[in-house]
Symmetry: C2
Subunit: 473 residues, 2 copies
């Protein structure tokens, strides 16, 4: 184990050097989070398909339980049960548009993880930083349970549990638990837990802050203990179901899956689940007693339970939907937690946008009208009114609006349009619009993936370290 | 599948060019043996341990269901359910003794397989050819079901089912079904099915030929059909038991295994099996209702059923022991088939040597006295007398002896000594003599292996081809 422990120390030191200005010491925060014994227990795995440029390089790392697809290089890092999904990387020859620039992509984009420790983290999407088109880097970074690093290069950062950094390049930042940041480029910031921040410089700025005392019921994290709260309890309670999925090599699909849909073999499907055409269910998704209509998707770490998704629904990474009826074309952002009750269903009307990191947790039936924008903490009708607006009304904002804990500045139209375009892009990329011929996406391309497993040295000084592994076409 | 089919054609052509002088066309023989659909169905796997120098390079090959350990490079080849076990390769710095030469080993020995098609073949042991110490090559070679390539570099050869080439470098040879060759160096030979040939040039020459009409009941192979006969029926009947073993990632040992023994997780262990100290059970071994005493071993493709092995028993690759009681220190050579019956047990006395490729198949109880040498086909007491001698008497041969279908020339002492030394070496290498401190061998070193799985492209032109994979420390 010697090398594994040395590697851990090395990573912590490097991150702390980066965060010295913020006076953030990552060591007490993560030192007990994953016992080294756990790091030797689980195999890592990578996908092989003809549709994804294959170039995986693993060096001097532990990859326990992690998943890789596409072009990815990992060096001197600890990746614990993380997903590195490189199926939307830019390709050589692509032309990247940024403002007035048309920048040619010089070589296939690569996700490059160095000197980092990622715990149950999702890395996905292509990076949008025009400064580093070919290299989506994650360096000197520690991230914790269910963090999303979404198209966001990171250098010298710490991400708290259930945080998301989206299409944002960050340097020397601390992202608090359940904070969501989509801000283009940030550096030397300490973002408070429960901040939801969407900024397009010169265009708009959306900012919401969870009341901390309420947020702590859902997610609370302090040095010395693992993350706590409803979010953790919820996933821990369903952990066992994944064991069988990971312990069997060939698994039969427990439900019938249309030829146009894809159900990842590492997803958990409980009884009474229906999967429609063009549906995409990613690995580590959990479906139970639910119906996914045409073109709906369930991304990594999603839980959809006792719910109906009418169609073209985006359920972004880590979102949970329980006892709910979702209309057509409803978007549910990252790590949102939407919980109705068996006797108090949650209904969300068509074409609504549930912002990333939204909590709807009700005891009485609640209906979100069609075409709504919802954010923040909603536990009843009053909170819904405080934390939502119709997209139509939101579009009318010209300069500024303050509502409850939310402050918006800039153009509402830009904001709403940006969201809608993005939702359209996600659906398109996922293959929701596939017509049997055109608009093929992940749902059609990811149907037939071969998975290879890799494991570390089982004993000796190198126990827990993976050998150098290079996989190329 | 295009590339896979092109690769097949390419290999066949290369082998045929090598075998043109023998007028042997390998194409009709193997063209239907493994449907290409089968080649995409099974994962390959390789072992990671701190005890075996790790250097695996796979390029432009299909490795379906095959296993790899140690230092090995595979290029332009099809390996179907084969075992490439590189745990006895020579190491850099070793001194290799050959006659009056002391040859330093320049670099770690590597098993190098190029342009070959191996079906259910075992490749093991280090090559004994002083001309190629660092490279155990298998080139332009086709081998079929349950062939053993044991320390035998091969260039331009065809091996029939259940054949074994042992410590022999071969060029442009055809080895018939169930032929056993241990002859140092051979070229441009067509060895008949059922030949058992052990030669040490200048020292001795042992030659036995199975009566073909009898052998055909056990193994018969002609172009256009898969191998047939009792041997094939026997393994096919037990095939299903392996499915579970290969379909589960973490498997619990079904029996208690002493700390000094090793039971491979890809072996099948049926109820009422006892495993003693220092026992080695390799992958693809099958044990049922049997007892393996201290230091006994069961190598790849062995079946031990309703039998007792007293201790220090070598059960070489592919040997089968059914309804038998084996005394201490009994050696059973490659692919031997020893079948008693529930009401007619086979007893083999201590320190006997059952030659490779021996068939003992009885309907009435039979006892082989201690210290015997047994060869060929033995179905009753008469055939036992025709096809065995005491090792003591055999040692007395000075020039020549002919007995039944067996002809021996040379020194009986040399022959017996060579066998006994080899048996001692095998037991030593396998860890049979481990005393808790000294004499550690495979049984102690192979206890804790991590297995990684690899799979081919699931579709497209490259369907069935494995990506390039390089694994290094």
């Amino acid at each position: 184990m010697k090398e594994l422990e040395k590697l851990f120390d090395r990573i912590i030191q490097r991150v702390n050097i980066n965060l010295r200005e913020l006076e953030f010491d990552v060591n007490p925060v993560v030192s007990q989070l994953v016992p080294t014994g756990q790091m030797t227990k689980f195999y890592a795995f990578y996908g092989i398909t003809p549709h994804h440029p294959l170039n995986l390089i693993f060096k001097h790392s532990n990859l326990s339980g992690s998943y890789f697809l596409g072009r990815c290089r990992v060096t001197n890092s600890l990746l614990y049960k993380s997903d590195i999904r490189g199926d939307e990387l830019k390709k050589k020859g692509d032309l990247f548009q940024y403002q007035e620039f048309n920048i040619p992509v010089d070589q296939d984009e690569e996700i490059r993880i160095d000197d980092s420790f990622l715990i149950k983290t999702l890395v996905h999407n292509f990076s949008h930083d025009p400064e580093t088109l070919e290299r989506f880097f994650i360096r000197d970074t520690v991230s914790t349970h269910y963090a999303n690093i979404h198209g966001s290069p990171s250098d010298g950062c710490y991400l708290g549990p259930f945080s998301t950094v989206d299409l944002t390049t960050m340097r020397d930042c601390v992202i608090g638990a359940y904070a969501y940041v989509q801000a283009g480029e940030i550096s030397h910031l300490n973002v408070d837990p429960g901040t939801v921040w969407v900024r397009k410089p010169g265009d708009f700025n959306f900012m919401y802050r969870y009341p901390l005392s309420q947020l702590n019921n859902y997610i609370y994290f302090a040095a010395g203990s693992p993350p706590q709260g409803i979010f953790m309890d919820f996933v821990e309670d369903r952990k066992e179901a994944f064991q069988r999925v990971f312990n069997v090599v060939n698994i039969e699909s427990p439900v019938s899956v249309p030829a146009t849909a894809s159900l990842d073999r590492f997803a958990v499907i409980k009884p009474k689940t229906n999967i429609g055409d063009n549906v995409l269910v990613a690995q580590r998704a959990f479906l139970q007693n639910s119906t996914l209509g045409k073109g709906a998707n369930a991304q990594e770490n999603c839980y959809i339970i006792n719910s109906t998704l009418e169609g073209e629904n985006v359920t972004a990474h880590g979102a949970k939907i329980i006892d709910a009826d979702m209309g057509n074309h409803v978007f549910v952002g990252f790590n949102s937690f939407l919980r109705g009750r068996p006797d108090a269903r949650l209904t969300i009307g068509k074409e609504s946008v549930v912002m990333p990191h939204t909590i709807v947790d009700i005891r009485k039936p609640l209906t979100v009208p069609p075409g709504s924008l919802v954010w923040g903490l909603v536990r009843n009708q009053d909170e819904l009114e405080a934390n939502s607006m119709s997209l139509k009304d939101f579009s009318k904002i010209k300069t500024r609006l303050s509502k409850g804990n939310m402050l918006f500045e800039g153009s509402g139209t830009s904001f709403v349009t940006a969201f809608q375009e993005r939702i359209h892009h996600i659906l398109e990329a996922n293959g929701a619009f596939y017509d049997g011929n055109l608009n093929r996406g992940h749902a059609q391309r990811n149907q037939n993936i071969s998975f290879n497993t890799i494991q570390p040295y089982p004993e000796g000084d190198k126990e827990g370290m993976y050998p150098t592994i290079i996989i190329q076409p």
